[in-house]
Homo-oligomer: 310 residues x 2
């Protein structure tokens, strides 16, 4: 099952973190932007090329120590189809380097439309008998508001192609409780109900480490809920945003893990991409700074969870 | 406000429907596919070009009688960035013809990431001082599971650029009730709560017709809930899927409208795109058949709601 491949990499690298690649053009050093604008003009194509070079430089610096990247689709879509082409190239480049790729798209729809998203982001597309990969990530974030009709179309691809999904359960943002924390008549909160559904959807997809291919997004900014969900959803692997820039610390993130240091992967996006600022370096040092921050973050989290054990 | 522009077109054309452009390659006639594969090979590029030609032919046949199209992002993403380029070209082509474009992307995220989606799909992107449109639709479907942090970033663009959003409230699929129908402790169902949130989010964006720029998706397959939400969310304009192929009829859809025949737009996707099958024509007649079906659907819905009045 999909998260077995990810967990293998996490154990091998002793690193329970994922680098979020949410590149804004503001983050890209002037030298890269100038080179791209000289070649392509101040166009979406020029911007997209700059993002791709930025991403590749970061991947080159971290692929040996970080198991996975998480590109956020929005930051590519804002640069049009040219940006989306840079997303595809980023995914392919990271996979060539042996990294596991989680596309953060929070996609959601039903039936054949959800099958189309599954083919787009995890599977392949049939073009007159040719099977072509559109984006070909290893996992995709999804939104479960539409119920099983929105999740089951992904199951086949998760099983056949060894891929995974992360369903939004308790998100890291301040207003996540407006809907997610409301108490249902059955005594559960909305997010708890969503967690139950993840356990059910994942039942037939449990892998070697006891975790299914249906994971959940639970934010480090809500450590109590993280702890609660770790207990209530024992087969659900967590993708945990909110560490660093959003305010979550290692002690908060600790609640996402089981006693073997398994069960979760902690994301940092701005912390990695903009590490040069915190380290008092220049923007041209962004890639080396990203590596330093990735090592610091890994050490920070291992300091509270200990060794990641098989 | 955004839906004023849409409502103006609906009144002018006396047509409360939107044509969903969710083109699967299977729907595209052999002659178009063969021409595209001859030029580009059996590639994502060839497939995307075929979809674009198919869409343009349908738009050419309906733009004078149908106020809007609703391309579904999934069916373009499955053909990679090349498919996404065809989405951008479809949006631009329909707008050139005077149509209102609703991108069905069900996007959702928080803060700056949601701003990136807003820029991508409704606004424009700053590239070194140049303001460039990435996709530039008139409205976008979104998922409100993350609460206000996921919706407010869209408000500015809705106000400044006269755009709109449709938040998923009660979706048309069989399993939509798994989460959406659950009863909250406050006595409301989850979908009703989401509808209340739409009313709140839209408060400062109410336009000439009494509807705000924050619309809602409510399925024709649940006519009772449609009626309920029409009463409980009087300023929320509805995008109504589920007519036709999914089983909803004109009498069901009627519940979405106010007494002036305003307040909703009814979507048909497969019904329009695959109309030639139902009409006993050949696939080469798909565009003319789409026009016939668009006229039939318009008449069907007007027969129950009467004239659309200002």
């Amino acid at each position: 099952m999909a998260f077995d491949r990810l967990i293998d990499k996490m154990i091998e690298k002793q690193n329970p973190t994922v680098a979020g690649l949410d590149p804004k053009l503001d983050y890209v050093p002037a030298s890269i932007k100038e080179a791209c604008f000289a070649q392509y003009g101040k166009t979406l194509e020029g911007a997209a090329e700059a993002l791709l070079r930025f991403n590749k430089a970061i991947i080159d610096q971290i692929y040996d120590i970080v198991p996975a990247i998480k590109p956020q689709a929005a930051y590519y879509e804002m640069y049009g189809w040219q940006g989306v082409r840079a997303l595809a190239a980023t995914i392919a480049y990271a996979q060539e380097k042996g990294m596991f790729v989680i596309t953060d798209g929070k996609r959601n729809d039903i039936g054949t439309t959800m099958e189309a998203y599954a083919a787009a982001h995890l599977g392949s597309t049939d073009v007159a008998g040719e099977q072509l990969d559109a984006f070909g990530a290893d996992a995709l974030t999804v939104n479960g508001y539409l119920g099983s009709d929105g999740i089951r179309p992904l199951m086949d691809i998760c099983r056949k192609k060894d891929k995974g999904i992360f369903v939004l359960v308790k998100t890291s943002n301040p207003s996540s409780g407006e809907l997610q924390d409301l108490l249902l008549e059955n005594g559960a909160t909305v997010y708890e109900q969503m967690g139950r559904m993840c356990e059910q959807w994942g039942e037939s997809l449990v892998g070697r480490y006891g975790y299914s291919g249906v994971g959940a997004v639970v934010g480090a900014t809500y450590p109590e809920q993280l702890k609660e969900m770790r207990e209530k959803a024992p087969h659900t692997f967590f993708l945990v945003p909110g560490y660093g820039a959003q305010g979550g610390g290692a002690q908060d993130a600790k609640n996402a893990f089981d006693s073997n240091g398994l069960g979760a992967i902690i994301n940092s996006s701005r912390g990695i991409m903009c590490a040069w600022k915190k380290q008092g370096l220049t923007e041209e040092d962004f890639a080396a700074a990203a590596r330093q921050e990735a090592l610091r973050m890994k050490a920070d989290i291992l300091s509270v969870i200990g060794e990641i054990k098989r």
